[in-house]
Amino acid sequence: MNGWTGKILDIDLSDATVKTYELDMEMARLFLGGRGLGARLLWDAVGPAIEPLSPDNVLIFATGPLTATGYQTSNRFSVTTKSPLTGTILDANSGGFWGMQFKKAGYDALVVRGRAERPVYVEITPNGVTIEDAKHLWGARVGAVTEQLGQNDNRRNVLCIGPAGENLSRMAAIMNDGRRSLARGGPGAVMGRKNLKAIVVEGKERPGIQDHEGFRFLLYESRKMLRTSPLTSQALPEFGTAVVMNLINHIGALPTRNFQQSQFEGAEAISGEALTEKYLVKNASCWACPIGCTRISRTQKVEGEGPEYETTWAFGAQCGVDDLAAIIEANHLCNELGLDTISTGSTIGCAMELTERGLLDSDLRFGRADMLAPAIEALAYRRDLGDDLADGSLRLATKYGAPELSMSVKGLEMPAYDPRGMQGQGLLYATSNRGACHMRGNMLGLEVLGLPKRIDRFQVQGKSSYVILHQNIAAAIDSLVVCKFTHMAVGEEYFARVLSAVSGVEFSTGDLVRAGERVWNLERMYNLREGFTRSDDTLPSRLLREPLADGPSKGWVNELEPMLAEYYRARGWDRQGVPTQDKLKELELEEIVNSQQSTVNSQ
């Protein structure tokens, strides 16, 4: 069967053993790859007894059946682990070149276990897999590490952590070729705990394709759609993701000063339009991507990739900062230190509110653009207050007596959309398995951009259906793996057909979405096994009880309760949010969940 290489690479750093074994093809059919395969492998590998920052936690890097095939945006891959920030199952994914390269090295997934005695890096090339000494790289920043390990015009690609990962910041990212990231939920800290500084890959052979003619037709049709859609052919290339800033501000859903307001007077100054006009050097793109949303920007001090919308918001509106150059520099610093920009910016914003309310003694105050860089540095090295910041906003706010000021769900900081102005977004955040996340379902498209049209952002009844469908589709896309921006122009039915053409196994659109539903439910079972309950499917009290005072979303809170009850029923879960046995059986999860649960319990 094509689509999968059929091989999993398994490295135990504790005793430096390297093993290769076969991928169970039934597992591949059920969970595809990427996020789905990662969840399935993590289910067996990491039970409730293992702490996220224990050496026994594992990192699972996984590509999907479409990775490296050459289908548009087939460059992505994911990492799955238990999150040091949230304690939930975590997957983070990234584009660029590394995933393509790793698949071409001949593997579907890489499992990293244990802990090396001294800092090491792993090298995977056509000549074999080696574990190398990384003493000379420990402490180095991301750009320098990437350069030293020889990123060679994308013939050799580098994943690494920066100082933040080494210092076990719970929001540490794994950096991808020095400028992209697998960021949310702190996978960089898990890598740091393992004393693993970097993973370098060189690939060789492109994976095979079963039905070449069918595949070529799908490439042709998808290219047409990506070219025809103004979203993928104009909006993303011309202004990048930050172009949504003015729109979100105008509808009154731009979280400002730690979600105290929903409109920011400085939005225009930090918008995609301003970025393009003043700081853009050029666009860039990932492997096999015709969209090219990536921005390369430059200030007087730095030049680098980004910033994306979420980052611009996190250091901008969230911190009350309207200085775009300072935001670009903050983004660049996070890339160098290896940090998740959303959690970093949001946590600093939380510290600013704590300070202004007199609960914390610090210089962090809203609008202080000059404090961003020092705070980020302190956070990455856990210096002074940075030691608290590095643990995320929930632990920070709890320590200083106001946990309700952490704008997070399950401990993961919320992205740049206020759920009071986008009701479905609130349900998405509350139910997302890795904590608050905007990439688990495209509510921006549904509630604001009109894709498909006519779903009002304030509508509550029936909203769960859309959230569930988009969560399932997102889980399927993350398991294939392609970029969600492709889905703005190309429907999921194409992805199902590409999967069929590549693998030679028939997958209908329904089958593909069902696979996404299966992944979602397994992730849910994982979190339940960890002890999460219905009470964790919630939002910060500010969003549920403090109506917005001004703007187009004035008077609104998030109407979570009715949406959540409808959501559980529509998912086939009981009132406590637990998938019923019927649902597990329907999804072919019954055996996995029941047998593995007993295995874990007996350990």
């Binding site: 993303l236 011309e238 202004f239 993701t241 930050a242 003015n246």
Partner: protein
């Protein structure tokens, strides 16, 4: 007078990014270049009046009142992949 603001690439179609609009509806001649191309609405162009989509109001016949904030957006896509 309603204040009309154009965003993104739509700014190319008018002389200044910010316009003070006199008209009582969106059917103002000056805005036609931004809203229409060859007499057809530009796809994915969004018009918001005080943050509400015109689709939920009376479309282009929505009456504009004193101090209405009108924002016209080109095709937009976003979030961080």
């Amino acid at each position: 007078m309603a204040r009309v603001t154009l965003y993104g690439g739509l700014r190319r179609h008018v002389s200044a990014p910010m316009q003070q609009l006199d008209s009582v509806t969106m059917r103002d001649a000056e805005l036609q270049a931004a809203l229409f191309e060859n007499d057809r609405p530009r796809p994915h162009v969004r018009v918001l009046v005080n943050g509400r989509n015109l689709e939920w109001m009376r479309g282009l016949d929505t009456p504009l009142e004193q101090d209405h904030q009108v924002a016209i957006f080109p095709p937009i896509a976003g979030g961080t992949p």
